[in-house]
Symmetry: C2
């Protein structure tokens, strides 16, 4: 696997965790091989895209045979560093934060929410989804070797908390607040804006009617 | 505005609601014009991309002057059909569903969650974020002229509920369950998988360190 992964297009990279999950499912079902068509139907990505994505990693499949599930699995596990655990902190145990904590991120993957923080003293000391909730004032004391934070605080707090996270050494932030946050160049932010996602779907419905496509 | 919007790349289309929101903010702040650099800093999209995106709509800006905020606003409002309300139903009033209902989608935009459904009779009749919760058995009776549904049910229910939504005439589904759902060709599904988003961030942190980029 000497592929230079820096050359994988970001759009391909984004689909890797999705591929991994479904190949893992197939493996659990005892399947030995899978065609790009089957994979396509399972992950809802067209098969041409799947073949192109896989081609960046070298010839993983054979024509007429498809892909070997076990080989794909070990390949993706390695590529996605599934054996290396990334520690995650969640900031803001409101409804969205609580939903996250109950969602089992450990299932077949390499991330674990290890602690949660909230400004509400009534929540401090509780366990939500098996994760202990600390007071936001403890952030700097508790965050050691935590690379990633999930931000589910109110918008008005987003920038302030972000600065504290960065100061504490966090290098990746999954921002679920509507606020666009400013970070130093070495920090990566992925922003998921629920309202933008909904508007985007509506826009696509109106302007890209599926009956007219392809 | 005779631009054939079917030719806008989907990546551009996805950014439109984001642009709209920030241009609206600028307008509320009384700003008359904005440079692509300022816009870039606000929405965290590089300015070359912004200029290219805007170019699909014709010459909206002037070199050295930037963009006229009021013109941009009216343009995006029209493009995004901000004056036309899309009715949305939310299925599954758990933590994630509740977070959605409290999130004010009506702020400056064209979507409104009009009703929510849940299988738990204890929730039926409640109002969450100003939205009434109905029993899931009432789905077919209540959904009239509802185009879009947000799916925040347990994974195991996702496909079954999807089929009922499609049968009731829903043409767009924002799927927040980890399940990949199968729909007829004319139905559009946008899938937001929280676990995949987190894994994707971790992958990017490891393989695309920002210090090395650009």
């Amino acid at each position: 696997m000497s592929t230079d992964q820096h050359k994988i297009p970001q759009a391909t990279a984004k689909r890797l965790p999705l591929y991994y999950r479904f190949i893992n499912n197939l493996h659990h079902q005892g399947k030995l091989r899978v065609s790009s068509k089957e994979l396509s139907e399972a992950v809802k990505v067209d098969s041409a895209t799947i073949r192109r994505d896989f081609s960046y990693f070298g010839a993983l499949g054979k024509k007429g045979y498809g892909y070997n599930v076990e080989y794909l699995l070990s390949f993706f596990r390695k590529t996605l560093d599934q054996d290396e655990l990334t520690k995650v902190a969640l900031i803001g145990v409101g409804n969205l934060g609580t939903a996250f904590l109950h969602y089992n991120f450990m299932k077949n993957n390499n991330t674990k929410i290890e602690m949660a923080f909230d400004a509400d003293k009534g929540k401090v000391g509780e366990e939500v989804g098996g994760v202990s909730v600390y007071h936001i004032d403890q952030l700097e004391d508790m965050l050691k070797n935590t690379d990633v934070a999930i931000l589910t605080v109110p918008s008005s707090e987003a920038q302030n908390i972000t600065e504290r996270l960065v100061e504490a050494g966090v290098s990746g932030i999954l921002n679920f607040t509507p606020a666009r946050i400013t970070v130093p160049d070495h920090v990566r932010v992925h922003h998921i804006d629920l309202s933008v996602e909904l508007q985007s779907l509506v826009y696509f419905l109106k302007h890209y009617p599926l009956d007219e496509e392809e």
